[in-house]
Subunit: 415 residues, 2 copies
């Protein structure tokens, strides 16, 4: 009797933090110096997809990312994730059911694919490790009630810290935990993707002429040299986590926006307070901030509350959170200051794998808006605008979506 | 008998802080939230000059800045400084010597002139108020032993906080003090201008397309909204002040450079942590930082210590402190990445009122320098380079330098 095909394919979403993770207290277990909180973006637009297959015919564990092999080095984060998932398979399935196939003993082939290009400057490690862990969980039947997304988040966390938050849809907290082994440093869902349907996210993909400091290297330099980080960790973030959880539960956009912007600023402030300093935002990033600040100023003066909130990760791209009723105005504003030839703009959006923002309208600013807060930039300063919404957690996909061929190798290989 | 001419002319220097002043605990007395420390730059290059004359023929106190009248508003900082100087004249001179002319009862005409244009983006309020107070001190014979620069600094401080530090040459601390009336919030000299003759300062004048937030408004917003400022004030700056004073006294350039850069970063970090955030540095400022960081990295790897230190005030200009032995290399580096047509460059320097840097040498980088840390910019990104050194405190000038004509009005009037 020939061996059955043991395989599963899953996709996982990107998440963008509104309370930032910056700093590890344990670099090998990836235990953070503070809790963080993110919004999961829709996989309809941005996703990582991973197929995992176990077979006695394979020589060893192997992984291909976007068709190119990524060697699994001993002691690497990749190896840790695969090993931990195999261990969980053994403990929760094989040790309890003598009839269960001993998949934990078989080598795996893993193929992973991101539908957004590297050029978009979006971190793919979070969605990538979440998809890896999810596909292995399905392969190993480590699904509820045997495990939970929080349990799996403990393993995804060891691949890439923020990956743990991509195990849930909606609004997700990564609780820093306190044990030295990290058993309580996991993701929990604050509200699901249906909770706040009015919420939109706009990613402004900003051109940059230099490669920034990697977040792994950057955050450790901040931990070692910043004099302000300890204050952020101990006093600022804990208070903001409580306020943000309340704001989300009550769908209080004013508080959500205020805290989101303050925490983005605070993260970039401690990056700047690092020796030597780390800058992720450039002049275009700053101009986008000036636009959002002015948009909110005008609205607040009219007693109409915040209209949008910016946040920046470890790069120059802006992510703007806004509500249904304001999304058109925000897109108009961005398009006015960062002009695009309409056709190219649309092409860029498609290339970037995002939802296509409706830019077929006159670029304009609201009444009372001080147009001089930023200068109109050359075409291409913002390379594209990805328009998306809050989305669900990892999805199991059908066999027809498999990234592996019959031979156990990626269907699309890049030399 | 006709009234004698009561007049004095003085010049005062610019100072550039290495431990930054950012935040007031009392906005009307200008009492800071932390102590600060600066280097006084040479008046041979950059200075404010002020002539003050008292006469019974004048109607009221009047002041002209660069030939244009600046109306002295009731309750203004300008009025406060003049009133406080008159009060000191009365208490220390007229009340003690019945024969002393009652100058405190006479209106004054004051003409002030900065030898560097506004376009250079250098704050002129520090040198300006220091020159004002110095010229009035000479007019009123409020000179040692009757007063001291520290006593006068109490009054200059009420004109513009950092002006108090321009009352001394060399290296100057502004002690924040603790009394509610500010009687102990004054400048003291840490070391005079002859102490560290190897020290040079290079001001890179950076083009900017937008007007930044004024420092007065900006610092109050930081006090009101930054969550990190309190930590900077209470823990970070006090320790740095002690370390910096030691570094200066021991001429320890490595410590001086490290603390100078760290404190510049810390100031800009709390500005960024403000709601809405304040940015003073732009992409050119960041590129200059990248050059200095790389220059130091190469040097530190060779065990040769820091070569230069950058610092930024409330604007995009860099001030680079470096020693005699490294100044040529630093200028070469800046000129390589911020090219200038030689003639124009020299003209710019003269226009900017600075010393002319020797750029008649091949622009180059040291061995091992990663040339990709910054891109070579277009001509004009850095408008000019002012090369100067540490200088002395306010100088009394001769009558031939008077800015006032026989008629009591500025010799050069601008409509």
């Amino acid at each position: 009797m020939s061996e059955p095909i043991y395989e599963a394919t899953a996709s996982a979403p990107v998440n963008i933090a509104v309370i930032k993770y910056w700093g590890k207290r344990d670099t090998s277990l990836i235990l953070p110096t503070n809790s963080s909180l993110s919004v999961t973006l829709s996989q309809d637009h941005l996703r990582s997809t991973t197929t995992s297959r176990a077979s006695s015919s394979f020589d060893k564990d192997r992984l291909w990312l976007n068709g190119q092999e990524d060697v699994i080095k001993p002691g690497s984060r990749l190896e840790t994730c695969i090993r931990e998932m195999k261990k969980l398979r053994k403990e929760l399935v094989e040790d309890k059911d003598a009839n269960a196939p001993k998949l934990s003993t078989l080598p795996v082939h893993i193929a992973s694919y991101n539908n957004f290009p590297t050029a978009a400057g979006l971190a793919s490690s979070a969605s990538g490790f979440a998809a890896l862990v999810s596909s292995l969980a399905h392969l190993y039947t480590l699904t509820p009630p045997l495990t939970s997304p929080s349990t799996l988040s403990l393993i995804a966390r060891q691949g890439s810290g923020s990956a743990c938050r991509s195990l849930f849809g909606g609004f997700v907290a990564w609780e820093m935990g306190s044990t030295p082994t990290g058993t309580d440093s996991l993701a929990v869902q604050i509200a699901d993707e249906a909770h706040w349907p009015e919420m939109h996210a706009l990613i402004c993909v900003v051109s940059d002429d230099k490669k920034g400091t990697s977040s792994t290297a950057g955050m450790q330099r901040t931990v070692e040299t910043s004099t302000l980080l300890q204050h952020r960790i101990k006093d600022v973030v804990p208070r903001r986590m409580d306020e943000m959880i309340r704001a989300i539960k009550e769908k209080d956009f004013d508080s959500f926006a205020r805290i989101t912007m303050a925490d983005s600023n605070s993260f970039h402030a401690v990056a700047l307070d690092t020796e030597p300093p780390i800058f992720y935002m450039n002049d275009v990033s700053r101009a986008i901030i000036a636009l959002i600040v002015e948009l909110n100023r005008v609205s607040l003066e009219k007693g109409e509350g915040y209209k949008a909130a910016y946040t920046y990760d470890a790069g120059p791209n802006a992510v703007i959170y806004t509500l249904d009723k304001n999304v058109k105005e925000v897109i108009q504003l961005i398009v006015k200051y960062f002009p695009q030839k309409a056709g190219e703009f649309k092409d860029n959006l498609q290339v970037l794998g995002g939802g296509v923002a409706d830019i077929n309208q006159v670029a304009q600013v609201p009444e009372g808006f001080n147009e001089k807060v930023a200068v109109v930039r050359e075409v291409g300063a913002v390379k594209g605008l990805i328009h998306t919404k809050v989305g669900d957690g990892p999805r199991r996909l059908g066999d027809e979506e498999s990234l592996l061929g019959k031979d156990g190798f990626p269907k699309t290989l890049v030399a």
